[in-house]
Symmetry: C2
Subunit: 534 residues, 2 copies
């Protein structure tokens, strides 16, 4: 057994369980860490507001920290509400006392000053102490807009944050207090893709993490996240600056929700968990912001209305560029322009004919593996859809003077065998969910391509040509209602499977592996067509 990582929260208590040490403990559990928690103050609060605060005597805060650190091997600490200057001082002194000889664990400071509902949670005199005493110990501090403003005001800089550039200026201003890094959270700052692009141009040195999810050709995948506001015109952007000079913006679609109680606690706790595991700060924040921004504030890492495909992208950001390599392939672009070389299309369509036989067999295997009539029915319906697609292939092929006999006798290319056999092998090896995942990259990708080309064609002076395009029938097919319905059915199936048996970390990793492989094989399939590879 691997050692469990221990994370300590030093914060207030929220009896209603959504914020404070309660949210911290739930986040620690959800992220696989053992949670300890020192209480600085009790509150009486719920989702409607804070009804009261009762501070813990400073000597008892010290006693609690002593009990924990004398016994447990803590890998990361997060601080939340510290209530006042005395508590803040005693936390600093007690931590320093324990870590004179051994190095301080990673420290994430959430400089809680004001609750989401507007209640003042940190006395004014404490801010100065927090800045001068606690921040220098911190790996990262995580103020939101109001907190950053309060902290800057304390440093003599009256400053109101309303744009991304303001956030960057604020973060750099706060970095001068000598903490390891500053993450200014953008939950209360509205941003758009246009602003992100402007920032990228003005500050090319900033890493932009997550924006790839916001471009074109992500419509079907984002449909798996019902609460996201369409093609992400409204964003949440968190801005990170570090002492080592590396800067980053973390970009997420804004999820419209009034349920933001405890978001800050969750984020800082999730960062602490990742740091405890030994992950770099930038990567830790990437994981933690995604975890938090998707609104997963409980111990349930999946479900609650966000689709598993969307989660795959959240967890492994490397998947999105792969997806774009596939759905925005040169083959697709030339096809849309109507300039694709005829031989390349013919090579593609012949190989696709072979591929679709594997694909139909894989759905038959899915039906054979199923224990429910529902999956047997949808699998069978999909086989019928594939046979319909095969009919279309024959129609194209007739137009291109290819007989059915020639189709059958065309030798299978390596790329076709690789993809087809991989799907069937995945079906043999794993359970229904794994095979379903292997079938999705093809189904969803062609739907995405069809939709993208259609939307592009509807723009003025579009590069996509419909009139006289020899491949128009192919485009119409995948943009059409029948295929798009099949896409919806596919998304529903994945959703239903994930809901019925929420995937474990190991299973999610398995799914990511299958999805990644299929996306690569799809790209390889179009490479094969472009290169006329045998």
């Amino acid at each position: 057994m691997t050692k469990t990582n221990v994370v300590l929260s030093i914060a207030g208590s929220d009896p209603s369980g959504g914020a404070g040490i309660q949210a911290d403990l739930k986040t620690f559990a959800a992220n696989g860490c053992y949670g300890a928690s020192v209480i600085t103050a009790l509150t009486a609060q719920n989702t409607t507001g804070v009804q009261g605060v009762f501070p813990c005597p400073t000597n008892f805060v010290e006693e609690q920290i002593n009990s924990v650190l004398a016994d447990l091997d803590v890998q990361a600490i997060k601080t939340g509400m510290l209530y006042d200057a005395e508590v803040t001082k005693v936390v600093v002194e007690t931590l320093k006392k324990h870590f004179t000889e051994k190095p301080m664990p990673h420290l994430v400071v959430d400089p809680v000053c004001v609750s989401t509902s507007g209640h003042r949670l940190l006395n004014a005199d404490a801010v100065a102490v927090m800045i001068s005493e606690l921040f220098p110990l911190a790996s990262v501090i995580t103020p939101n807009k109001s907190e950053a403003e309060v902290l800057l005001a304390q440093r003599g800089a009256k400053f109101s944050i309303s744009t991304l550039e303001d956030m960057l200026v604020a973060a750099e201003g706060l970095l001068s207090v000598n903490c390891g890094a500053v993450l200014v959270k953008g939950g209360h700052v509205t941003a758009s893709l246009v602003e992100v692009d402007a920032m990228k141009r003005k500050f090319p040195e900033i890493d932009v993490i997550g924006e790839c999810i916001l471009g074109e050709n992500m419509e079907i995948l984002l449909a798996a996240s019902p609460n996201a506001t369409g093609p992400a015109t409204r964003l949440v952007v968190d801005v990170l600056v570090q002492q080592n000079g590396v800067k980053a913006m973390f970009v997420h679609p804004r999820i419209e929700s009034t349920n933001t109680h405890g978001t800050g606690c969750t984020l800082s706790s999730a960062i602490a968990c990742e740091l405890a595991k030994g992950v770099s700060l930038e990567k830790a924040i990437g994981v933690a912001t995604m975890y938090t921004h998707l609104g997963i504030q409980t111990a349930t890492p999946i479900g609650k209305g966000y689709g598993p495909l969307n989660h795959l992208h959240s967890i492994s950001s490397s998947l999105v560029p792969l997806w774009k390599d596939y759905v925005q392939h040169e083959f697709v672009i030339q096809l849309g322009k109507g300039i694709l070389d005829r031989n390349r299309f013919v090579h593609f369509i012949k190989q696709d004919y072979h591929y679709l036989k594997y694909y139909a067999r894989a759905y038959a295997l899915l039906a054979a593996k199923s224990a429910s009539f529902k999956i047997i029915e949808t699998s069978t319906q999909t086989i019928l859809n594939v046979l319909h697609e095969i009919g279309n292939h024959k129609t194209f092929c007739e137009k291109f003077d290819i007989s059915e006999e020639e189709l059958e006798n065309t030798p299978e290319s390596v790329a076709t065998t690789a993809y087809g056999a991989f799907i069937l092998d995945t079906g043999i090896q794993g359970d229904v969910s794994r095979l379903t995942m292997a079938l999705m990259a093809c189904l969803l990708g062609y739907g995405e391509v069809g939709l993208w080309l259609k939307k592009q064609s509807e723009k003025e002076n579009s590069w996509v040509i419909l009139e006289g395009n020899p491949y128009r029938h192919w485009m119409d097919e995948y943009a059409g209602e029948m295929y798009q319905n099949a896409v919806r059915l596919g998304l529903e199936t994945v959703e239903a499977i994930a809901q019925a048996d929420q995937p474990s970390a190991a299973k999610l990793k398995e799914w990511i592996g299958v999805w990644e492989k299929c996306t690569r094989l799809e790209k390889g399939f179009w490479d094969m067509a472009m290169n006329l590879s045998p």
Copy 2:
């Protein structure tokens, strides 16, 4: 999505995370409930002891309860450390105030008086208040030995608990305070199977839950639980008495561990979760005692050194009688006595020949489904073992004048087809873990039978006859080192699979289904032999 059950803990805080509201929140999360927590007192403690206690002002306890109950729809409440009479009173009054018009949620009262490490956690004056005011609201109270003694002393009954019967007397004494039920916990009372049997004879009206796991023929299954003390000579028994007259004893093998910090918090929290889900009290306690006694005090429901097979039995106690129906089948007993009808054995051995072909094919399928050389190797090794077993069959058959040709030409009985085809179908449908589970009932059961007959034969005046027993070679085979090694390999494989991907609730349910079906099919196989069924 189904509604999440909300459970509220009213208790002290343990900053080291092993007890108090921290343990409660972890237990709620592990049992799928949303946790809220009102803090009555802060402690400074860790696994070595309690270093300090700081009580929360009573009015702030009230404020916290108000905040929670004004906002959340709580289905169950547990109380832990209430510190003193004032806090106890205010908890009672505030709860009563909120539930004048609507019914009180299930209330589990853990009457915490003394910590595991011996620290007094409840002032003496509070005990009387707890008894007269709080207990009448409780669905169940859960004192341990010391707490039951303190509570009884308060009622004027000086009484020391040292036997199971003492526990029953104590529970009945406490029931007279007018709470719904009393569960006297046996963690500090040593009990043996002999005592449980004596109690059963003396009080036949008491339901005994879990003792079936303790009898003979459970050796291999219990081997999956490495910390259990062999064939369970030392037990933990919890005694329940209810106002409706129904009584029960919950019996578990004693797990030797010094890590009992927080056990009481975990148990009462787990009971509250089950009650919140609408489960009956007796069933809730069955689930919760198993959860707790197995030492699973964190949010990780599986792992930590207890085998998944053992867990299956924990979760579904209906599996154990089925297991005994299989491994203590009349066929086995007559075989051990040497009086089994020759025709029945011949029928069995012929059908087993067919079955073993399915069984070998299933291991080949397992290898085909595997992604690791380790599983490919163990599967292949097992196929070789099966082929060796087949060799033995031929040897038996020669002795019984059955030629290989006759073996091959014997028509397969329905029971054989049912079992063999079920395993192969399970292999087609599911993943590696599911198929492995389907292969275990046969492997482990025959190992258990071999071991049992051997151990019985070694007793004086045993009913198992070795000298002149026509089936002795068969018995030696399954008790022998080669087969028992195969059993160990099988257990290790299941263990490794479960560790690599800790099963979700849905997956555990699936495994239980497979295991149960296989156990029934095994029993059916021997029924077929006894009845000479075609």
